[in-house]
């Protein structure tokens, strides 16, 4: 195989890795926007992509690095290495981005929910709460906070629940 053929093959692999990684990261973000209508099929595809993108983008990043290495071996001119290097770097960045939950960046989770006895709580009586009673335990989740966190993983009277709003 000539150097030119090898360079082209490596460039194509890099391009495919970049395209795949971009699709994996961008498509779910594009579909799952708060003020956009989600069709059933596009949502189903977006969720499948979101589930597998950490793996796909990792494999893509590894392939991009190998392809870049192969390109460098047959491309002596340093200035011609710049664009492929940038492409490979972007694939690596996308592999990192694929692991970020942007929704939890917007609405931070309450990772360690703590509770106070209602007699000691300083909230106004007019505050609205979501209230549950399981066994002998009564628990309230103020809407002012749960409408931000959206999800609170909790254990009430030994039973694991997830309070959502």
């Amino acid at each position: 195989m000539s150097n030119i053929t090898r360079r082209r093959m490596c460039a194509w692999v890099l391009f495919l890795c970049l395209s795949l990684s971009l699709f994996c990261v961008v498509y779910p973000i594009y579909v799952i926007q708060p003020f956009r209508h989600q069709g059933a099929q596009e949502l189903a595809l977006a969720l499948v992509v979101a589930r597998f993108r950490p793996l796909l983008t990792t494999v893509s990043a590894l392939a991009a690095v190998l392809a870049l290495g192969g390109y460098w071996l047959v491309q002596a001119r340093k200035w011609r290495r710049v664009l492929p290097s940038a492409g490979a770097a972007l694939v690596i960045v996308l592999a990192c981005l694929a692991r970020i939950n942007i929704y939890e960046l917007m609405f931070h989770p309450d990772r360690h929910p703590a509770f106070t006895a209602v007699r000691d709580v300083k909230l106004d009586g007019a505050e609205k709460v979501i209230a549950v009673r399981i066994g002998g335990e009564a628990r309230a989740y103020p809407i002012r906070s749960i409408s931000y966190h959206h999800v609170v993983n909790d254990v009430v009277d030994g039973q694991a629940i997830v309070a959502t709003y």
Binding site: I32, R51, V118, R119, A131, A138
Partner: protein, 230 residues
């Protein structure tokens, strides 16, 4: 679920109802229905835990030993402000069901029972304070609390008593909100008889969801609406 204790995270949105994802299997779940819509547990459904939406004052009077979720100090800046309801009314929706003269963000109280779905306009329920109706084959009673805001739904039958109890409202005292013709008993906002022949008995609570019309209608396409259709 499936022998696992699941830990959930906010993971997206589907026509303005949010999606959750569990850490353990990577399955995506729809918040309003508790249904798994993508992933290894697709098709399963979380068990709904009965809950009420109440004012803190009403809840505190009923559960003086209860505990309340603390604020997370570094995120308080993002918590809902007092006018949150009014602000949300102005937020556009991405789906619309302009039926029955209802706006997308009209607040409804939704009940699924007796093989049917029915939505009760919240403002109307609060105005009427006591509402007797049927959802499918199930007789239901919607009761507004002494605070004029909290609402609960019950099965409109007294355990062990045949026929319709025929409840009516007698006041705003927490222990004596309602009375029934069938037994002449007084009932509190928790649906328990505090005096009379039925003292000690409690009505069966019916799960009710306070939701915007567009969201309720999206997941209950066959829903009827109180005051509009049967």
């Amino acid at each position: 679920m499936a022998g696992l204790r699941l830990t959930f995270h906010l993971a997206g949105i589907n026509n303005q109802n949010f999606l959750m994802r569990d850490e353990e299997t990577g399955t995506y779940w729809q918040q309003i229905s508790g249904a798994a819509i993508s992933g290894p547990l697709k098709g399963r459904r979380l068990t709904l835990v009965y809950s009420d939406e109440l004012t803190l004052a009403v809840w505190k009077s009923e559960q003086p030993q209860g505990t309340v979720l603390d604020d997370v100090p570094q995120y308080v800046f993002g918590y809902a402000k007092r006018d949150w309801d009014a602000r949300m009314e102005r937020v556009p929706t991405v789906i619309a069901f302009p039926e029955h003269g209802l706006a997308g963000r009209d607040v409804m109280l939704g009940i699924q029972a007796g093989g049917a779905s029915r939505a009760f306009p919240y403002n109307r329920v609060v105005k009427e304070k006591l509402l007797k109706d049927r959802v499918g084959s199930e007789p239901v009673l919607l009761v507004v609390g002494p605070d004029g805001q909290s609402v609960r739904a019950f099965r409109d039958r007294i355990p062990g008593v045949n026929g319709a109890p025929d409840f009516y409202r007698i006041g705003e005292a927490p222990g004596a909100l309602l009375m029934d013709e069938a037994t002449g008993s007084k009932w509190n906002f928790q649906g328990c008889a505090t005096a009379g022949q039925a003292q000690g008995k409690c009505l069966e609570p019916v799960a009710m969801l306070k939701d915007y019309w567009f969201d309720w209608r999206n997941y209950n396409p066959g829903t009827t609406v109180y005051g509009v259709n049967r």
